[in-house]
């Protein structure tokens, strides 16, 4: 005969397992994480606007997938690789993270890619530019979604050379992103018969750019290649104007965001060539997204904001199609599907993780050409994804040449 104590224990076990079962049926949430620079120099490029874009995508998708609620976690990596990587690891271990969106800063994203591979969590890079993320630093779980240094160089450097800028001098941010961007641009310049006359590597967040600009001017090069981003880019272009360097050299913005142009104003930025993965005023679809975003954030979205929205949606669609959140199955689905939304049409994720989509070479309008608020770019050329991102290099083991 079973003792009453044993009976009680059995009963409790039954109740406990039933409640655990019920909890699972009601649905553990599907968890999407976003780790980005929320408070530093890149916070306006994506930051809080990126979180808003992710939430827009989740609510457009209906708020649930596979019958489970979708929850969104966010964290500030403060541009520190160790913070980004440890937060990612924590969410993967404790929060049941299903997808991580990586915000700005190539250095931080390289660190997070390593965690994605170790924890087998899909990882979509939005704001960072370094093409190494789909080359030396590629993983089976990484996707590089919005733009990379190769595409930027192919767009802007080619446009500058076609406009007659054969000799180049680079002003380069002294970290992974800057050097990758400079190397990519130099490669394009040299394949087109141009020359790179030199470069000056400027510490990130320098207070004064004029000294470096005078060195650039002394080189006698025709083009000033700005291989930097965010506030560094804006401050260096502002100083280049002030010192009259833009009268003898043509500046090339190897990476400029809409927010940078907005900060600088058209009077300073006019005529600048730049390459972007998306622009709010391209067509009705982009304008419709921009209108909704503007209503929430009171500014027009950057390519990163649009990319964060599109990437979230693409992943959710892949989860739905695969019928599971299993990382390997979802990645396979993601690499099989074509991406068609307001961000791109016919975009696809290549074996090395690069999302191949059209890129746009733009020129910043003059104050006279700009007809309404945020009317900043005119389209010079649309590059196909294959042209922009180039062939696979073979540096990523997943995509042999």
């Amino acid at each position: 005969m079973i003792s009453s104590r044993r009976m009680l224990a059995l009963l409790m076990a039954a109740v406990l397992s039933a409640s655990a079962y019920l909890a699972h049926a009601a649905g553990e949430p599907v968890v999407i994480g976003d780790i980005d620079d929320m408070s530093g120099v890149y916070a306006d490029v994506e930051g809080a606007g990126g979180v808003e874009a992710i939430n827009m995508a989740v609510s457009d998708f209906g708020g649930t997938v596979l019958g489970r609620r979708i929850s969104v976690l966010t964290a500030d990596h403060q541009n520190k690789p160790d913070i980004g990587a440890s937060k990612f690891r924590e969410w993967a271990d404790q929060q049941g993270l299903n997808l991580l969106l990586g915000g700005s800063n190539t250095g931080v994203n390289i660190a997070m890619a390593k965690v994605a591979a170790a924890k087998k969590v899909p990882f979509i890079v939005i704001g960072a530019g370094g093409a190494s993320l789909t080359n030396e630093d590629c993983t089976a779980y990484s996707v590089h979604y919005v733009y990379d240094t190769t595409a930027l160089a192919n767009g802007t450097a080619t446009a500058m050379i076609n406009a007659g800028g054969k000799s180049w001098f680079y002003l380069t941010a002294d970290y992974a992103f800057g050097t990758q961007l400079q190397n990519a641009a130099a490669k394009v310049v040299e394949t087109h018969g141009g020359k790179s006359l030199g470069a000056v590597r400027v510490p990130l967040g320098a207070a004064d750019f004029s000294s470096f600009l005078l060195q650039a001017q002394a080189s006698g090069a025709q083009v000033l290649g700005l291989a930097n981003a965010g506030t560094d880019f804006s401050n260096s272009l502002k100083a280049a104007n002030e010192f009259g360097i833009t009268r003898t050299m043509k500046p090339a913005a190897l990476l400029a965001f809409l927010t940078d142009i907005h900060s600088l104003g058209l009077k300073t930025a006019q005529g600048l060539y730049l390459t972007t993965g998306w622009y709010w005023d391209l067509n009705d679809e982009t304008r419709a997204f921009a209108r909704r975003f503007f209503a929430k954030m009171n500014r027009q979205p950057t390519m990163d904001h649009a990319g964060a929205y599109s990437a979230t949606l693409s992943w959710l669609k892949a989860v739905k199609a695969a019928g599971t959140t299993d990382a390997d199955k979802v990645m396979a689905q993601l690499k099989k599907d074509k991406i068609n939304d307001m961000f791109t049409h016919g975009g696809y994720v290549r074996a090395d993780g690069a999302m191949i989509h059209d890129m746009y070479v733009m020129q910043v309008k003059t104050p006279q050409e700009s007809k309404y608020a945020w009317d900043y770019y005119k389209l010079i050329r649309k590059m196909s994804g294959e042209e922009a991102f180039g062939p696979v290099t073979g540096l990523c083991a997943l995509a042999p040449k």
Partner: protein, 294 residues
């Protein structure tokens, strides 16, 4: 073309001129810090935040009230200085007599609050402040074209620094101020309102930071973190000059600007650490600073 260390002389002269411009900012900012530390013993970590506030005051004054640059040069330091007086009266005053660490923590906290609030309201990417029309041209120095505005920065900074030095070291008001640091109770016994004097000192030091902020606003984008990195360099400048030494802070500010300019020609990657290397050397060889008294 003649050369020095294998570098054309005009290039060196150009870099030194620009170094002087940066040095002007270091001098103005470190002067304010030195005044506050020398006369009050407070390590003012909020200095960078007050510099940022000065720039924002100029920017918002222009955007919303139509206050032009020249007026802002006067009004922004006054407004921020008044805020400084308020901070001293409401907060700092309670910490005198305690470990200086408390003042440091308080001002550091204030800096975080100010920068965080500005970030929340204005975002990270910054806004442009136009160069005033009358200073929009360039100056032909034969070896380089110097924007007139930068020349003005050097002039404004040098004049402000040396008048501040003159007031503190050579006038009866300055003598009273210095007396307050030596023996406050005795001075109070002579009928001098010492608390007011201390509040005015903090306000004055903070106003210098705000003035530097207004001077900087046409050069860099005005944003919430413009003071954060600058203030760290400026602390190094103050340590090199000798904590609390007025003349030391001015001279070392200008000289370190020149040294930094020179580094930018020879080895640009090191330009943001050269000041700290010098600081380390000074601390080893002459811990009281170049102009400090042991």
């Amino acid at each position: 073309m003649s050369t020095l260390f294998g570098i054309p002389v005009p290039v060196i002269l150009g870099q030194l001129t620009l170094g002087l411009v940066n040095g002007s900012f270091y001098a103005l900012l470190s002067l304010g810090l030195a005044v506050i530390f020398g006369l009050m013993g407070v390590v003012n970590f909020a200095h960078g935040a007050f510099y940022t506030l000065g720039a924002f005051a100029a920017l918002l004054g222009l955007q919303y009230l139509g206050i032009n640059y020249w007026l802002a040069l006067l009004l922004a330091p006054l407004a921020v200085g008044a805020l400084g007086v308020l901070v001293e009266r409401l907060l700092l005053r309670h910490l005198y007599g305690l470990d200086p660490l408390y003042g440091l923590l308080l001002t550091f906290g204030l800096a975080l609050i100010v920068e965080g609030s500005l970030h929340q309201v204005f975002g990270a990417s910054g806004q442009s402040y136009p160069v005033p029309e009358s200073l929009a041209g360039t100056l032909d120095l034969r070896f380089m074209f110097l924007p007139l505005y930068r020349a003005w920065v050097i002039l404004a900074s040098v004049v402000t620094c040396f008048s501040t030095w003159f007031v503190i070291e050579r006038t009866p008001l300055g003598a009273t101020l210095r007396a307050a640091t030596e023996n406050a109770p005795l001075l109070q016994a002579f009928g001098v309102n010492v608390p007011l004097l201390v509040a005015a000192t903090y306000g004055g030091g903070v106003a210098l930071a705000a003035l530097a902020g207004v001077l900087a606003s046409p050069i860099v984008l005005v944003n919430s973190h413009m003071g954060t990195e600058l203030v760290i360099v400026v602390f190094a400048v103050v340590v090199i000059g000798g904590m609390g030494s007025i003349l030391g802070s001015i001279v070392s500010g200008l000289v370190l600007g020149l040294v930094e300019g020179f580094t930018k020609v020879i080895y640009p990657e090191a330009s943001n650490i050269v000041v700290f290397v010098i600081m380390a050397l000074v601390l080893i060889l002459r811990p009281a600073g170049l102009f400090g008294r042991e």
